[in-house]
Symmetry: C2
Subunit: 366 residues, 2 copies
């Protein structure tokens, strides 16, 4: 595939640079961006969290860096092999391949623990401006889709057509890699609705919400995986509005903001996975004013909810939205939270009525 | 659907019995089986863990039982409504429905915490000899399938044909309920292979293992959900042999034995979810004899692995198999474990070669 050819070229470029350094009697070097907190920032103009410009140079002729340098080269070499073979594995599989082929003829074991290989993969992602999925490394997959989306999935020598409107009660499971070998062949939807909990997704799927409202219905099943965030980003690139529906609590807010602005630990992927256009449809404390019954169905906020609300008020990119300041203050004052499940209180189908109502009236938070 | 009609009949039967007790000037009663440890046993002749015959009778005119009695009736009544409406929800959704409709005109809140409604659902499952899935209550879903299996999924007024051989890199996600509205329309496979980890499932799916070896490839993604166990049981009912492939460690063994014999906390469902015919294909400590490289890729067993191995040797239904006694003793002596991921050491495709080899030679543990 063209995509993997590009990545192979980048890996070869890295190797060739090192070779030319050796030929020029220089120590080979490897340069990547610093990924520690000090080099992570929220970019006002882009609307997401990204890495700064601080760089880190690793050189082979340096007692403290030699091992890490060799390990990085070993990881790059293995991934190139996976790409040439057209085979995928997990980072655990990579770890065992490294352990298998490097362990025996070296006095010191090259890789004894997986913790040693993980950051090296991130180094490569940043240095080569690619995602680990481009290196044929699968990440944990999670999340499900239903609605007007048809895909062509080229994988393992097969080609399957996936129609997300014909997946019954199950939906289509979002894979780790939604780029390489994956193509949107048809999109027929007015917007994307992201629903935190699988139980609510199933409720809406059963009521054919996506069919009636002409939307694409996604659940990340809690915190969104890399693949799920990337899929949301790609759908937003198709000019579809993205609305998020989560619990009104610490975890729900976190899920929303991670989709919208990216997250600290994946700052190096901000451009690929953040969707700053995303809007928040609910649940909010304000909803109690419009849906009176919710008052009876609030539950006590936990310590983590209170702490998170305080933290969020301290982030300038959140506190500049007066809607969020008001919302979080209500949580801090009342010490209450509301789960999206509560919208099933009056009748199971109410959750769809609520969403139709709020989306129709554009009652969003930024 | 016929299935839900049967369940409605059972729920109505329960109600009618209570009514006739009241009419006869008796206190209405509710009888279920005791589910505590003292009434859980491994049934030698059936080969799985089931409930004993100890019963528990709850009566309305009893200060200590009145509330629980009323709650049970409320749960039964809500579930009947869900069945009539042909709508599903989660137990969290049920909890909010109960809270919504019962909370206001009673001095004491009928349901303040979900922990109160959960055991009542189990009571009903046992008393009526049904599964909560039959009450239109969804449970957590997990697990994926690929291979020669075609299903008809009738759900939410739709009917979708799911072909598990055309699901690309993703596979078909196993739902909570694989009985009601779900029909196997075609099975073309020689056996079922259950693979503990999703990463390994993806590896085998990419190599088209299920196509080449004509099997149905399932991953429970760790511990098997109720739906996944039920699906395995149903495939075994179709006379397909079931082989399990897990890590050689505490968690892997637990996953296998829960599929095979059921588990303590789901003893009341033993007949529906246990697959005593299941066999264990690996990974085993003995594999080191045939696959020399594995020796280098063993890792240190954790305390939990050692403890679990000791516990398993104390279960008569495990210790009567000399193969398992030998296997567990090697773990206890060497204090080592082996992950299924290690089989990717020599080459990514080796995991498929290993499985083909062991299944072909019928190298199973009971």
């Amino acid at each position: 595939m063209t995509e993997s050819k590009n990545t192979i070229k980048k890996l070869e470029g890295l190797g060739e640079e090192m070779v030319s350094e050796v030929k020029g009697n220089l120590s080979p070097t490897f340069t990547t961006k610093v990924r520690s907190k000090g080099n992570v920032l929220y970019d006002e103009s882009l609307g997401y969290i990204r890495l700064g410009d601080k760089k880190e140079k690793r050189t082979f002729i340096n007692v403290g860096q030699a091992k890490k340098f060799m390990q990085t080269v070993a990881v790059a070499s293995k991934c190139k092999k996976f790409l040439k073979e057209n085979s995928h594995t997990s980072i655990r599989g990579l770890f065992y391949q490294l352990k298998f082929s490097l362990g025996e003829d070296l006095e010191e074991e090259m890789f004894s623990e997986q913790e040693e290989s993980n950051p090296l993969i991130e180094d490569l992602e940043v240095a080569l401006n690619i995602k680990r999925e481009d290196l044929n490394l699968n990440t944990d997959r999670k999340g499900v889709v239903a609605g007007g989306l048809v895909l062509k999935d080229k994988f393992g020598g097969r080609e399957d057509k996936i129609d997300c409107s014909k997946q019954g009660r199950s939906g289509w499971m979002i894979p780790s890699d939604v780029d390489n070998g994956m193509e949107f062949t048809k999109i027929d939807a007015d917007y994307v609705l992201v629903v935190e909990k699988d139980a609510l997704w199933q409720r809406l799927n059963e009521d054919k919400f996506w069919e009636k409202e002409n939307c694409i219905l996604i659940t990340p099943k809690g915190q969104a995986s890399r693949g799920c965030r990337r899929l949301i980003r790609k759908l937003a690139d198709q000019k579809l509005p993205v609305y998020c529906f989560t619990d009104c609590d610490a975890w729900g807010w976190y899920i929303y903001w991670a989709i919208k602005t990216g997250s600290m630990n994946l700052a190096y992927l901000g451009n690929d996975i953040a969707t700053p256009e995303a809007k928040f449809v609910g649940v909010t404390m304000r909803d109690i004013q419009d849906y009176d019954f919710l008052k009876k169905l609030t539950i006590k906020a936990k310590e983590v909810d209170i702490k998170r609300a305080e933290e969020m008020l301290a982030y300038p990119w959140i506190s500049r939205h007066k809607e969020w300041v008001e919302e979080l203050k209500v949580v801090l004052e009342t010490k209450k939270k509301i789960e999206q499940d509560a919208l099933q209180g009056p009748r199971l189908s109410f959750v769809g009525e609520y969403l139709k109502d709020k989306i129709g009236q554009k009652k969003f938070m930024p």
